[in-house]
């Protein structure tokens, strides 16, 4: 995917150029720009850029960050809107309550989401990466902005890198402290999705010894986030993130990607030169790239689709009075022939799988019973014969799946002629509450035969959906005849 028809033009693609007698390294397709030949990190300080894609991104990020911080605190009814309480094995999802039994729904939910990502990637490439991924949202939207505020623009930051410790101690130190605090905020918010917020607040204001696991988790998470956003940055996107690598398999010649129109731009030359293409080799697209590539070399692994280069080049084109779009969103086919095709087999396939996942999840959700009622054989002997009755002991397991308290009534249903003793016939259960009610079945010896089943009717009387009923049944055991 990194081949462009123009790759053979020798000079302009030299990875190292002479600039005012200083050797400056430029991105190429054969090496990773953010790593030096000796293996050390080549820290990238992307230049500032303004443009319409930046505006779209910034608006979106305000919404996304707002949702991330606010969602653990939002309640629907008496439960949080989104809480994955692993310790209690209760899961709350926008009004629905699940227990561990229902966890299999998660398979369809997650695969549905996964295939949605596939569809998006097949159509629009790494749209997730550049616009919605937390790495980008927090790094570009929060951390780099603060870095710019404290340390200055890209050149100033690069200078500060080379400055001696004494010169940069306070500035860098202040930045580190602020970064650490923000990382702590992010990791505490994260815990709010897995721990009820009241417990989280209580844990935050009491001794770490009371909630050791949560404390260690938040500490480690804060450190990891701190190291990630201060130093690791684009290495995560390039080396660690599997989704980035997956993209290559999901693209085809019609996927809309960030790309350079080399038909229009080549051969490069100064603006005044006649016969040269639109590209004036200003290197703005390279300067603003957060992953350190030259988009003019073609689609590359490192490109996260942030569209900084599009805005940068459009800006330069505007100043030169030329058309925008020298670097733009287009497909490989679009760049070569000008045609764009959205409708294709790949999109249908991914779309179908996405719909399958989402449909299965919705079906499973809506067809779920309001409560579980199961007859489970009591431990110990399978049956006993007492006073000319065959005696079977069961436990009725009741689980309330609704998000509010419900009352249940238990009554005998079968078999005919059996004496049934139910420990409690009316039970009140809180949401996701469970109870075991002992139930004894006595079948007269004379009436007992193989194949008889114990049956109980369990009714929920106070559900807003009306009277709900389930039958719990189990085989009755007895002497073989």
């Amino acid at each position: 995917m990194s081949e462009t028809p123009n790759e053979t033009a020798g000079d302009v693609h030299k990875p190292v150029v002479q600039k005012n007698k200083k050797v400056v390294r430029r991105p190429d397709v054969d090496t990773l720009f953010s790593i030096n030949p000796d293996g050390s990190r080549n820290v990238i300080h992307p230049a500032d850029v303004k443009g319409r894609f930046q505006r779209y991104k910034h608006l979106l990020w305000i919404v996304l960050i707002g949702v991330y911080l606010a969602l653990p605190w939002i309640r629907i009814g008496e439960h949080p809107a989104l809480l994955i309480d692993i310790e209690a094995r209760h899961f709350y999802l926008f009004g629905y309550t699940f227990n561990a039994q229902d966890f299999w729904f998660a398979f369809f939910f997650v695969t549905g989401l996964g295939f949605t990502l596939f569809v998006v990637a097949g159509l629009w490439g790494r749209l997730w990466c550049g616009y919605a991924c937390p790495q980008t949202v927090f790094l570009e939207g929060v951390f780099r902005r603060i870095e710019r505020l404290i340390e200055g623009n890209a050149q100033a930051r690069a200078k500060l890198d080379k400055a001696p410790l004494k010169a940069k101690f306070w500035r860098r130190g202040l930045k580190m402290v602020v970064f650490f605090l923000i990382a702590a905020l992010i990791s505490h918010s994260f815990v709010g999705y897995f721990m009820p917020t009241e417990v989280l607040l209580e844990a935050m204001t009491s001794s770490p010894g009371l909630h050791p696991t949560a404390f260690v988790f938040v500490l480690v998470a804060t450190l990891i986030l701190f190291v990630n956003f201060t130093w690791f940055r684009e290495q995560l996107c390039i080396v660690v993130c599997p989704y980035g690598r997956l993209q290559g398999a999901l693209y085809d010649a019609d996927t809309l990607l960030v790309g350079y129109d080399n038909k229009r731009g080549e051969p490069r030359g100064p603006a005044a030169e006649k016969g040269s293409g639109d590209c004036v080799d200003c290197y703005r697209c390279v300067a603003v790239c957060p992953t350190g590539i030259d988009i003019r070399n073609g689609t590359q692994l490192e490109c996260v689709g942030c569209a900084n280069c599009i805005d940068a080049c459009d800006d330069v084109m505007d100043k030169l009075g030329r058309d925008r779009g020298l670097v733009r969103y287009d497909s490989q086919r679009g760049f070569e022939t000008g045609k764009r095709r959205f409708v294709r087999g790949r999109v249908f396939l991914y779309g179908a799988l996405m719909l399958l996942g989402m449909t299965m999840f919705t079906l499973a959700l809506t067809r779920r019973h309001a409560f579980e009622a199961r007859l489970v054989r009591g431990p110990g002997r399978p049956y006993s014969v007492e006073q000319e009755s065959v005696h079977n002991i069961f436990n009725l397991q009741l689980i309330n799946k609704r998000s509010g308290t419900r009352t249940f009534h238990i009554e005998q249903l079968g078999p005919e002629g059996a004496r049934v003793v139910i420990a409690r016939t009316d039970v009140e259960l809180e949401s996701l509450g469970t109870v075991r009610v002992p139930v004894h079945f006595y079948v007269p010896d004379a009436d007992f035969k193989a194949g008889l089943r114990a049956e109980l009717r369990v009714t929920c009387t106070d559900d807003p959906d009306g009277e709900l009923e389930r039958v719990a049944t189990a085989p009755l055991l007895g002497p073989s005849r």
């Binding site: 990875p15 054969d30 090496t31 030949p37 293996g39 007492e386 420990a423 409690r424």
Partner: protein, 198 residues
């Protein structure tokens, strides 16, 4: 500084020889060293507890703690009398009774007849007849360990052990049953019925 290409080709495919990022190499080396330390600590020397061992340790510690607690606060008649006078304690005992004991002893503890006309399988806890004895500590033992059926003394059904609910629950149940003693509810099972096989 063009990238170096290795001499060997794989079916015509060439390979670069770029250096791996130092951070990658060092996390890898550290992971290797850590894994050696981990292996030696947990498996070679056994200085670390594998999950089964740490579980056993926790169990032993809990059993020891319980033993200490029982030594400090032995279950005596006096102590049980005190607990039976504690209203909150008795109320909790009543809740436990309702959940666990009513199947055989009925809701009022009298083991009376149900709607089908059958006596409760258990004993009448409210009358004067106590098969195993009515001292507080005896009641405690009966609930804790259960009793075997013994036709000689007039008990055919036996009594289930409730130790699995925990000592705290058994103490609360004992306190509640002590308050039932002597209440002689109407329709309770008469002593003659004990002697009949249930």
């Amino acid at each position: 500084m063009t990238a170096e290409v290795r001499a060997h080709t794989f079916d015509g495919i060439q390979e670069f020889d770029n250096r791996l990022p130092n951070w990658w190499l060092w996390t890898f080396y550290l992971a290797c060293i850590f894994s050696i330390g981990y292996w030696v600590h947990y498996h070679t020397l056994g200085t670390g507890d594998v999950p089964y061992e740490s579980y056993l340790k926790e169990q032993r510690a809990a059993a020891l703690a319980l033993e200490e607690e029982m030594k400090k606060n032995p279950v005596t008649d006096e102590r049980l009398e005190q607990l039976a006078a504690n209203e909150a304690f008795v109320t909790e005992g009543q809740a436990l009774f309702q959940q666990n004991c009513v199947l055989c002893h009925r809701e009022n503890g009298g083991a009376g007849k149900d709607e089908n006309g059958a006596w409760g399988t258990g004993a009448n806890l409210t009358d004067a007849k106590w098969i195993y004895g009515s001292e507080p500590t005896t009641i405690y033992q009966t609930i804790l360990k259960g009793r075997n059926a013994d036709p000689e003394i007039g008990s055919f059904g036996g009594m289930q052990s409730w130790e699995h609910l925990g000592i705290g629950s058994v103490l609360r149940l004992t306190a509640y049953v002590m308050t039932l003693k002597g209440s002689d509810v109407a329709g309770g099972k008469p002593p003659e019925e004990y002697a009949k096989k249930q």
